[in-house]
């Protein structure tokens, strides 16, 4: 588990944490931990006097929150308008199929996670996919298949080496 007390530190940043602080608190906790754990959401709820169902309900309302830790390789697919026009949906479907996860999820071995993001402001490079912050511009279904296949091989080799 997470040893340091990120949640406590975030909550301590508010003199009197109230319901209207819920979203900023969730954002800060996710920034620190990379995702929102159940333990974190329960603790936030306790401090804000909100049931866990409400905290989870609010968090799931927004696309920005994830509920599983990021994988060693974190992949984002831009679904902004320009990328959409250039076929990002097909890219997303391809990656989902290859990694066998949905957007917002992490593979069971913790190797990959997938996220959909809104416009990254680099529409000239559309469609855009990032792997651990490394940009891949103007990707096609073919090229993304190659990229992901390479990553999968690398992660299998890693697993064997252990």
């Amino acid at each position: 588990m997470i040893a340091n007390d990120d949640v406590g530190a975030v909550l301590d940043g508010y003199a009197q944490p109230r319901r209207e602080h819920l979203i900023p608190i969730l954002q800060e906790v996710q920034d620190r931990q990379g995702y929102l754990s159940q333990e974190a959401m329960i603790r936030i709820g306790e401090r804000l006097h909100l049931p866990a169902s409400k905290v989870y309900g609010v968090a799931t309302f927004y696309n920005q929150f994830r509920f599983q830790p990021k994988g060693r390789v974190h992949c984002t697919v831009c679904r902004g308008t320009a990328c959409h026009v250039k076929g990002s949906l097909a890219l997303l479907e391809t990656i989902k199929r290859m990694l066998k996860i949905d957007a917002g999820q992490t593979t069971r071995d913790g190797a990959f996670s997938l996220e959909v993001v809104a416009c990254m402001g680099a529409c000239g490079l559309a469609p855009l996919v990032t792997l651990n912050e490394e940009f891949h511009a103007a990707v096609s279904v073919d090229s993304i298949q190659r990229i992901i296949r390479k990553q999968l091989k690398a992660s299998e080799a890693d697993a064997r080496a252990k």
Binding site: Q38, I42, P51, A52, S53, K54, Y56, G57, T60, F61
Partner: protein, 574 residues
């Protein structure tokens, strides 16, 4: 000063501050609603109740629109009716067309509305809802496919019961109502009260049915099948067969249960009297020996679970008495089994209850002995109605019969367990007798009657002034607990019923119960108390025989083993 409005070219008067909807209802003009809850502020979420108001460009939701002098309203203009029909069609776009197989069919608001508005084809085609059926809870079943996201369950759970076990999750076409982290209801903070089920307009929430188990037992010639019915059932069930609310059908209820094949029919009010003997004795003992006060009643299983999980520091305040259902269950499989010469494992014990949480209570591991549960199955009022209809019976066509003796006699005090305040009145009558040897001079304790959520009284017995409080609706109980935590110390005894109004408005009672019906049921119970000769639990002859022949004295060794229980600290996601 009344407000005058013109509705469909007729004069309709309204009170200042009320909404158009309530004024229309009083005038007998029906405008359909889906998200409206009479006791909570309007959200205007479903827009089913839209009407035309002269001078307003858009249709307005009647449930949220304040009545005002001179308003000119048309409730069923072609435009309003078309708008409502479109809303229904949109709701049906991703609905599973399951009506033939749906438990709610015939009493489903969505189905009624579709029929009333002449929906004949699927005009909008969305992807059908496909969600997991949540069968994890022993009391409540969630079927999110049938949910129309009206939000009533969420609001009742949070705003009336103060639990907040469920909320909206996700957004847009993916939105559902679910628990924290979308897990099973069984590990959530749900206390199984069933209030969400009674407000749900569709089959998305329902009770875990025990009908199969009961019917299997009834057809097992090896088993003796006995049934008990709770005090509130007889003043409720007849409504389902066309009687006006408040009709007491005790006799015909007994008859119907015998026709269904139950070998013995007992009255849970007998065990309510038994509970009173034990609980009043416990109260007197706590007062005399400096035990933990205020004592709190323990007959409402939703409340008990709530204390266990959310206020465990008050566990010691809960009376150790089991609820009447469980007391009778224990007595049936010991005393009665012995008397009838039937081994307890050959008895299948059924309870008809106004409540979903009773299903949870019956399966608590400590509610039995030697691997045998005290109560084997719990049916809600609604389930019993289905069973009676299934056999083609009509309650009204039967001649009244008495319950079986031994465990069928009751005082009117036991019967009052069905209404908020009833347990308190019954307990005070017997506590007075225990403390003074004489009867309470005036039996009717007016401040404790009525449907208010919080009631208080001070009662002097033998120079000792007792402070008592009665709350119903868990949200009210929470407020009281917080006051106690903050140091309030004027109370000796608190009655808590989980559902607002008590068992007569329980989570297992018929759908579409309105406040007028609840009031009529309450009056029926008080009338029984006014008119019957035996009005005190300690005057119940059969009960005194049970003590003489079997139990010994209240709080005695045998009582302790069979009729009392303990509470656990419960970990839930909350």
């Amino acid at each position: 000063m009344m407000i005058e409005m013109e509705v469909n070219n007729r004069k309709v008067s309204a009170e200042p501050g009320e909404t158009v909807l309530t004024a229309l209802e009083r005038a007998g003009i029906k405008v359909p609603t889906l998200c409206h809850l009479a006791t909570l502020s309007p959200t205007g979420a479903c827009r089913m109740c839209v009407v035309e108001v002269e001078g307003q460009r858009n249709l307005v939701p009647a449930c949220a629109f304040p009545a005002a002098e001179g308003l000119k309203i048309t409730t069923h203009s072609p435009r309003a009716v078309r708008a409502r029909k479109t809303i229904i069609e949109l709701l049906l776009a991703n609905h599973p067309d399951d009506c033939l197989y749906c438990m709610r069919s015939g009493e489903c608001d969505l189905q009624d509305l579709a029929r009333e508005h002449g929906v004949r084809d699927r005009r909008f085609c969305g992807g059908r809802n496909v969600h997991r059926l949540d069968v994890s809870s022993p009391a409540i079943l969630r079927d999110p496919d049938k949910c129309i996201l009206c939000g009533k369950c969420v609001r009742v759970c949070e705003e009336i019961q103060g639990v907040g076990a469920i909320d909206f999750l996700g957004r847009g076409s993916q939105a559902i109502v679910g628990t924290a982290f979308n897990q099973g209801l069984n590990i959530s903070s749900c206390i199984n009260c069933g209030q969400c089920v009674t407000v749900c307009p569709t089959g998305a929430l329902r009770e875990q049915s025990h009908l199969k188990e009961v019917s299997a037992a009834l057809h097992d010639s090896d088993m003796m099948v006995v049934v008990q019915h709770a005090p509130s059932i007889s003043v409720t069930i007849a409504e389902e067969f066309g009687a006006r609310p408040g009709h007491d059908a005790s006799g015909t209820l007994n008859a119907a249960l015998r026709r269904l094949g139950f070998d013995r029919v007992f009255d849970s009010a007998f065990a309510a009297d038994l509970t009173i003997m034990e609980e009043a004795s416990e109260l007197v003992q706590r007062i005399q020996t400096g035990g933990r006060l205020p004592m709190m009643t323990s007959c409402s299983p939703g409340w008990v679970k709530f204390v266990e999980q959310q206020y465990p520091d008050f566990r010691e305040n809960l009376s150790t008495c089991k609820s009447p259902q469980q007391m009778l269950g224990a007595v049936i499989k010991t005393y009665f089994a012995d008397k009838a010469g039937v081994p307890p494992e050959k008895i299948f014990s059924v309870a008809v209850m106004p409540c979903a949480a009773k299903k949870f209570e019956a399966q608590r591991p400590e509610m039995g002995r030697d691997g045998l549960a005290d109560v084997d199955a719990v049916l809600t009022t609604r389930e019993l109605v289905r069973m009676i209809r299934n056999l083609g019976m009509d309650l009204r066509a039967l001649d009244p019969e008495p319950a079986d003796d031994v465990l069928g006699e009751r005082s009117s005090a036991g019967k009052m367990f069905g209404v908020t305040g009833g347990v308190m009145e019954a307990a005070l009558r017997t506590a007075h007798h225990l403390l003074t040897g004489t009867e309470l001079p005036a039996l009717r304790l007016k401040p404790l009657r009525g449907l208010r959520g919080v009631k208080h009284a001070r009662v002097t017995i033998n120079g000792l002034e007792l402070g008592v409080a009665v709350v119903s609706g868990l949200g009210n109980a929470i407020k009281l607990l917080e006051e106690l935590r903050a140091g309030r110390d004027d109370l000796h005894f608190i009655e808590v019923m989980t559902c607002p109004g008590g068992c007569i408005a329980g989570g297992g009672q018929p759908f579409k119960t309105d406040i007028a019906a609840v009031r009529a049921r309450m009056r029926a119970l008080y009338t029984i108390d006014r008119d019957e000769p035996v009005r005190m639990s300690h005057h119940n002859e059969a009960l005194q025989r049970l003590y003489r022949e079997f139990l010994g004295a209240p709080l005695g060794e045998r009582s302790h083993a069979l009729l009392h229980t303990h509470y656990v600290q419960r970990e839930v996601v909350r």
